[in-house]
């Protein structure tokens, strides 16, 4: 059996998630699906699994057109989706989870517990005779790999011919991964195809028969895994050459003043032995998803749960504690996912701008002067060229680019010069090209005024056009820094995939 998705386009409000993607999946293969966050992997498998309906395009099974209107529909066609988060009921045991919703019953209401256990055990034995799992224990007490196996067996209990596994090993400790790998490899031999999504390229390479690469919602290539090296994969996932060049004069007007100095920084699994940022410079942090560059950037502003040996901001020693402490020290963060982490959609532009420093318009006793607030909001809106018909417009009605400008403007409202370190994470996600250029210009203006800027981005062209130097991350560690003279997409890709250029 072969399922072919042809010319699939998925339009979400404001973003084109998939743009004419064609891909085929067979029952005799493990098919690796790779791409950076936002490349369209999840959208594609959600369409395959019936959770999403494409805006355009067709789905065919062995040449016959089908409509997958719901996950139930997809299941009837033999497609099962094992999601990343896990869908087991923690309090129920393995057998109950495997047969959830299809329990053997008496009089249509009471569950026959004995039959349930036997049936579940038979299912496990049929698919994975080598596996030993205690199906009588609550799944919350089982090892992660066993839980995944239970989920997979549940997916197979109907007549599944293709199983979508979304990041199946993401939550697994290293030694349990191998167990699951064995199971994944076994499935095509039993006539069940696997669509495998994983951020671990070595895993994709080791398990897949064929690999499909997506980037920015487009199909880049599908080929046997034997003909693709890990470096090829990273290259295809990230290379955007030929896109708009927004390079400006990245004037290297850096001073020797160190605005941020950290040593022995560790948060979660991320370890950064030493990091220095100078006034006026823009440092790019790059890496694949999960490499630690985003986590490091975020933790500088929100160090809760992290440790460090020493830290100083603008020459003053700081003991990292809370967000407000870091802000007081002079560190600002313009985060990714702005509607989630930075802005309030139901508020006006003016109130959003005043979120960090409402006290600027204070006239004593915590009372606000609306005139002063309005005047300062207007100033910031002019400075950043925000397009809104007034400062009272609700934030949620602005375009992506203007929202992003407000997210930056929060740190300029009533605070020009207060922040010596500004951290930008994915600063132009969902931003149109005109606003992109304006945001880069603003970053350069801030740098020229003596701010040290950190930009963590998955857009390598963006990094190339604004950064003065780049620190590549891999496996939660920073690698050797790349100077501006050595900038090229190939050099970046080589650095983050751990291969010499």
């Amino acid at each position: 059996m072969e399922i072919v998705l042809s010319d699939i386009t998925m339009q979400f409000p404001g973003t084109l998630a998939l743009d004419g993607v064609t891909a085929g999946f067979r029952t005799d293969e493990v098919h690796g699906l790779i791409g950076e966050n936002g490349a369209g992997k999840s959208t594609l498998v959600n369409i395959l699994g019936g959770s999403l309906q494409p805006s355009a395009g067709t789905v065919q099974i062995d040449g016959r057109a089908v409509r997958l209107a719901s996950p139930h529909d997809a299941l009837l066609q033999g497609i099962a989706h094992v999601s990343q988060e896990g869908s087991l009921v923690p309090g129920l045991n393995g057998a109950e989870n495997i047969l959830l919703g299809a329990e053997p019953r008496v009089a249509g209401a009471m569950i026959r517990t004995g039959a349930l256990k036997a049936e579940a055990e038979a299912l496990v034995a049929k698919w994975f005779p080598q596996v030993r799992i205690d199906l009588a224990r609550p799944v919350s007490e089982l090892p992660m790999a066993d839980r995944k196996v239970i989920e997979i067996v549940r997916a197979l209990r109907g007549a599944a011919r293709i199983v979508i596994l979304d990041e199946p090993t993401a939550t697994l400790p290293a030694r349990e991964k191998e167990q699951l790998w064995g199971i994944i490899r076994q499935l095509p031999k039993q006539g069940v195809g696997v669509v495998l999504i994983s951020h671990f390229l070595s895993e994709i390479k080791a398990l897949s028969d064929r690999i499909t690469v997506l980037r920015d919602g487009r199909h880049i290539r599908t080929d046997p895994s034997a003909s693709m090296s890990e470096h090829d994969m990273v290259d295809m996932m990230l290379r955007r050459s030929g896109g708009a060049n927004l390079r400006g004069a990245a004037g290297a007007a850096q001073s020797t003043e160190v605005v941020l100095d950290v040593a022995g920084w560790s948060v979660g699994a991320i370890e950064v032995p030493q990091f220095r940022l100078h006034a006026g410079e823009i440092v790019g942090l790059i890496g694949l998803t999960g490499a630690g560059h985003f986590g490091f950037a975020r933790s500088l502003h929100n160090p809760v749960g992290g440790r460090c040996r020493a830290m100083s901001v603008a020459g003053k020693p700081v003991r990292p504690g809370s967000v407000s402490q870091m802000q007081k020290a002079g560190i600002a963060l313009v985060p990714d996912h702005r509607m989630e982490y930075a802005l309030i959609g139901e508020w006006s532009v003016r109130e959003n701008l005043a979120m960090v420093h409402p006290s600027f318009a204070g006239i004593g006793g915590g009372v606000l002067s609306m005139q002063r607030e309005e005047a300062e909001a207007q100033r910031v809106m002019r400075l950043l060229n925000v397009k809104a018909h007034s400062s009272g417009q609700l934030l949620k009605t602005l375009s992506g680019g203007n929202k992003q400008k407000i997210s930056i403007g929060k740190w300029l409202y009533g605070a020009e010069g207060r922040y010596r370190v500004m951290i930008f994470i994915e600063p132009t996600e969902g931003v149109d090209i005109g606003a992109k250029a304006e945001i880069y210009a603003e970053m350069r203006r801030l740098a020229a005024s003596g701010v040290g800027i950190i930009i963590a981005s998955s857009d390598l062209l963006e990094i190339e056009s604004v950064a003065h130097r780049v620190i590549p991350f891999a496996n939660q560690r920073p690698g050797p820094e790349i100077a501006q003279s050595g900038f090229s997409e190939s050099a970046f890709i080589a650095a983050i995939s751990g291969v010499a250029a």
């Binding site: 139901e346 508020w347 006793g365």
Partner: protein
């Protein structure tokens, strides 16, 4: 943040887009319904549109408005206080008990206020320090307050020997206008000013509007959630203190209806002005809404049970309207 400032209204008026026109309808439709209700009752009920009856309505809704104004702080910070009814009830017996025992009026009033602060502090600690969702924590503290109330009173009303000055707070009139109405207006004015014109209010709204964004903007989230719960309790005990003065006695059960009605005022308020957001003015109109219905149905000779049904339906309609426009995440 203010709903009625020229800037926001002119924005909507100037805007040619359908989105904002829809927005405008949404903002003011509940007010239109309120006006229609006034009109219908004026035509159908004889004694409705008389100065005397309008002042009656003001008096009837004043305690409710005060409770609602407090709850607005909680809702704005996305915290619910289900103990307000029992706080009203407790203050409504505690203050009379102190007065009957010979405590001076100012001291008794302060005592009531201190009880409010203590209740608020306990609620706040349970929610922000222990980490219990406010819905559950305040349900439990409400039960405790109810128990304390009945331990103190044995379930019997407290009357006789209440000073005239105290009774005047709840029953007196100045220039024909009930003193209670002044308390209500003062509570609304203060709550409005704090919420709309101070940094404190702005942070309360920020915490409820997007907790993660507030946190990453350096707002001390727990502090403002705690403060909102304290305000809830303090407004409730003020209402309870006035309630006993109005009734002329401390009634152990008198506070109970203020929970459901108080929540209703906030829900109705959330349908207007800034849909989906609790605002002080919205709550005030919500209380007026409930007051007008109660009063009108009363004058029409309707059973109180009918009133209860009508109120329930109105709450459902209000919540339905709100949850259609925004996600209601109260837990």
């Amino acid at each position: 943040m203010s709903d009625l400032t020229p800037s926001t209204t002119t924005v909507s008026a100037q805007s040619p887009t359908g989105f904002l026109r829809k927005d405008l309808v949404q903002r003011y439709s509940t007010l239109v319904v309120l006006v229609l209700m006034f009109a219908v009752f004026t035509v159908t009920v004889d004694k409705f549109m008389t100065p005397q009856n309008l002042l009656n309505i003001a008096q009837q809704i004043s305690m409710l408005t005060i409770v609602g104004a407090g709850l607005t702080f909680g809702f704005a910070a996305k915290e619910m206080d289900l103990s307000v009814g029992f706080s009203v009830g407790l203050a409504g017996v505690l203050v009379p008990l102190m007065l009957v025992a010979g405590v001076s009026l100012p001291l008794a009033l302060l005592g009531g206020l201190a009880a409010g602060l203590a209740i608020g502090a306990v609620n706040a600690a349970l929610v922000t320090l222990v980490g219990i969702p406010s819905l559950i924590a305040t349900l439990a503290t409400g039960s405790i307050l109810f128990g304390i109330n009945f331990l103190m009173t044995g379930g019997r009303a407290i009357y006789g020997g209440l000073p005239d000055t105290y009774l005047w707070l709840g029953q007196g009139r100045v220039a024909g206008i009930p003193v209670l109405a002044f308390f209500m207006l003062a509570a609304v004015a203060i709550a409005w000013f704090v919420m709309e014109r101070t940094i404190f209010g702005r942070y309360i709204y920020a915490v409820g509007g997007n907790q993660k964004a507030a946190e990453l903007s350096g707002v001390k989230v727990r502090r403002y959630k705690a403060a909102a719960l304290v305000v809830c309790a303090v407004f409730a005990v003020m209402a309870g203190t006035l309630l006993a003065a109005r009734l002329g006695s401390g009634q152990p059960n008198a506070g109970e209806r203020y929970l459901l009605d108080g929540l209703a005022t906030v829900f109705i308020g959330m349908t207007m002005l800034r849909p989906g957001t609790a605002t002080v003015l919205g709550t005030f109109f919500g209380a007026l809404f409930i007051g007008v219905i109660n009063n009108g149905l009363n004058l029409m000779g309707m059973d109180t049970y009918i009133q209860s049904i009508v109120k329930g339906v109105i709450i459902l309609v209000a919540v339905a309207v709100v949850s259609r426009s925004t996600k209601l995440n109260l837990l």
